[in-house]
């Protein structure tokens, strides 16, 4: 992080030497006056950058490590792959678009607003085609929602694998979306032709080469699904489906179809590739669960964590993390420092958002002893985030998706953190 000493999160990982150096440098009882204060620094004397030097600003160069990362060997090609949000280095709840994870099945495409068309067809009174500009004329809403890939933490089913919150829990982002409720568009096309709505479906499909499509039950489609064109106040990024994506609050990210081009009202689920061969969960006896749409309550401590070791030694320490639930609001997060023997209730950040990330903090006075850090989320339905053992007892070890287990970080006396499993 510090350009002058050349230390970074990476040198922390190399061992305790860097840690020791860092804590000395950061000690409050420096014997000599700080030259950063007593000497006139360049930046206090020479003028800085003018306006317009970067018409659209990027993070300052010192933050260049805070980026999405992928793990090449996980997938066959980066065109059909995933990367991870650097959740370890972020705070608050909103994920900046530029570092929010990407998942493509056939790569991210450049689709101009002028070339964008959205079709509604199937069991509707009048099949319609909208241009992008039409969408901006419907009444719209703003909502903050998390989007989590169903495979988030999937690598950890069989045991502790990847060393970093970014890699174990980074298939998630949380943005404020601006969009038109899907029900508004469905009503515009008219649903009288669909008859009884209870057993009807909406099949949504993307415009990219993967043509990713998913079936959504009508009840959800008429509830809180958004046809979104802005995120965090600005246009969606290419990698998140510019100019229009679907937002399916609380449900697995694969259903949040990007480059949304078609909405079809049907009388049965299409059973597309992404809802049969993928995004289904095989259990020990070989049968599989399908239509596992909701993302259950989950949490993770983002700092300290393997990529965010404690660099300051004993004393005041902020333990910070994220919690979320596809069933609604997070009502409580407990933190354990001893691997689940005892728990303390953490302080929640901004509350009130449903199906959105909630930040939590536990402010402690660290005695310098090793810790086994865990967090456990509870949502407004009373659901308590399960342990890995509970999940394995229920589902076996063959599942890939929907791993919402309690995560453990082992923090040693040097403040170095590692992904572990505990008894």
């Amino acid at each position: 992080m510090d350009a002058k000493t050349g230390t970074s999160r990476r040198s922390f990982l190399k061992g305790s030497v860097a840690i020791a150096g860092a804590s000395v440098a950061g000690a409050a009882s420096a014997s000599e006056a700080d030259p950063l204060i007593t000497d006139v620094q360049d930046w206090a004397s020479i003028t800085g950058a003018g306006v317009d030097e970067t018409p659209y600003g990027m993070p300052i160069s010192f933050e260049k490590d805070v980026v999405r990362r992928n793990v090449e060997w996980l997938t066959a090609s980066p065109i059909s792959s995933i990367n991870f949000t650097p959740i370890h280095a972020l705070d608050g709840t909103i994920t900046p678009q530029g570092c929010a994870f990407e998942r493509h099945h056939s790569g991210a495409i450049e689709l101009r607003k002028e070339d964008y068309r959205l079709m509604i067809n199937g069991l509707v009174d009048n099949p319609l085609v909208f241009h992008y500009a039409d969408l901006e004329r419907f009444p719209r809403e703003n909502h903050v929602y998390f989007c989590e890939c169903a495979a988030n933490t999937g690598m950890e089913w069989a045991g502790a694998q990847l060393n970093g919150a970014q890699f174990t829990h980074g298939m998630i982002h949380n943005m404020e979306y601006t969009g038109v409720p899907l029900r508004t568009l469905l009503n515009e096309a008219g649903l009288a032709a669909a008859g009884e709505l209870k057993d009807k479906w909406v099949y949504v499909e993307g415009a990219d080469a993967s043509s990713n499509g998913r079936s959504i039950p009508m009840e959800k489609a008429l509830d809180d699904v958004l046809v979104a064109f802005k995120a965090n106040g600005e246009a969606l990024r290419m990698e998140h489906g510019y100019p229009v994506r679907l937002v399916v609050p609380g449900w697995e990210g694969n259903m949040w179809v990007k480059w949304l081009r078609r909405i079809e009202v049907t009388d049965m689920a299409v059973e597309s590739r992404e809802e049969t061969s993928k995004y289904t969960d095989v259990y020990e006896d070989g049968t599989a669960r399908k239509w596992t749409w909701v993302m259950d309550a989950k949490s993770v401590i983002t700092s300290p964590s393997p990529q965010m070791p404690i660099a300051h030694g004993k004393g005041p320490l902020v333990i910070s993390g994220l919690a979320w639930s596809g069933h609604g609001k997070i009502t409580r997060v407990d933190v354990s420092r001893d691997g689940g023997i005892s728990w303390e209730t953490a302080r929640l950040g901004k509350q009130g958002d449903t199906k959105a990330l909630t930040r939590f903090y536990l402010d402690i006075d660290w005695d310098g002893n090793p810790m086994l850090l865990q967090s456990r989320a509870m949502d407004e339905t009373g659901y308590v985030q399960p342990t890995k053992e509970q999940l394995r007892a229920m589902r076996g070890e063959n599942a890939v998706y929907h791993n919402n287990c309690i995560q453990t970080w082992f923090v040693d006396e040097n403040g170095v953190a590692e992904n572990v499993e505990v008894s």
Binding site: S106, I120, N212, S277, G340, V422
Partner: protein, 433 residues
Amino acid sequence: MSKSLNQIVLPVAGGTALALSAALLFANMDYGQKKIGALEQRVEQISLQAETANRRADDEAAAVSDLKEKIAEIQAAAEERAARGGDLTERAPESGDKFGLGRTAKPEEVAAWDVDVLPDGRGLPEGKGDAYWGEEVFAEKCASCHGDFAEGVDNWPVLAGGFDTLGDKDPVKTVGSYWPYLSTVFDYVHRSMPFGEAQTLTADETYAIVAYILYSNDLVDDDFELSHENFAAFEMYNRDGFVIDDRPALEYAKWRAEPCMESCKPSVEITMRATFLDVTPEDGGESVMNHATADDTPTFVAAAPSAGTDEVAAEDAPSVAASASLDPVLVASGEKVFKKCGACHAVGAGAKNKSGPHLNGLFGRQMGSVDGFKYSKVFVAAQEQGRVWDEVALAEFLAKPRSYMKGTKMAFSGLRKQDDLDAITAYLKSVGE
């Protein structure tokens, strides 16, 4: 809001009254008639102004009251929404009327985009193709990723085989073993494949490819022809293998309970450490393995805020040490190289045949000799000749599989680096005994 409006309204009225009383005070003094006349006129004007001000004050008070009501309404609505568990965003207005936006989709537009196929076969285009022709089309358009026999190249999906592996530790989920509906295969191939050239296959080509994929799964013979007419009658192997999400009954019912806060377990030990220590090394390259064991980690016990005292100061021991003569670093490196093989080959305790034979006890094993594995002709011949796997044979085979074993169905292109060959040899020795 209402308070600040009151504060604005009152000074306006009060100020007017003050001016009025000052004027009357002047009027009682002994000034000239002219002045008195002028003052009387002025008093009238001020009275009029006072009336106007009063009227304005009344109007504004009414506005304040309206505003108060409106605020109360909004607050009540917000509270109701909050109580319902929703967020505080007001719903976009809806009307029974249409907004009149968009235009009617033309039939040829709907036909161009609405090509999905439902499980009952609705949506299929007319056409046909047999497995024999499908093999040619597949070889040309699909095999570079999926392999000539649909066995999958590198990390690309395996489409064939894997029957009866769904209950295994690493289930092989192929079209044959896992996919419940044939419509899904047609729909996906037709709409999303080939990778990088999607939506270019004709209906007949798609029928042929689907027929070939069924053939490669031994589900049909090579003269099998698939068409829109016999499509719906075909039943997939795993069609009854799925249950609808049963988390609400099995999990939510159990896990909605007040959790334990104190002395929840007597003690806690670390049972496993991260497999990969540095997932994305700074200088690029593959993830760095973690060789630390859980041996030297502390045990946490109840009634202590953090670690116990039974820490053991031990050097990190390599996790793979099956044979003392093997270099643990080389073995670990070989384990990483084996990731290229793991999609098709299993090794270690309980390893079974996947799309390739298991590799336990490989060195000293007769070629083509694993029970229950269907070898290609060249391996059957090698077995008959009594050829045996040793380090040299394995290294030559892995360097150029298809030239060493002409006709092998192993789709792997080969390991080019001598280091990798040495590493994988060490790894297979360490785990496969």
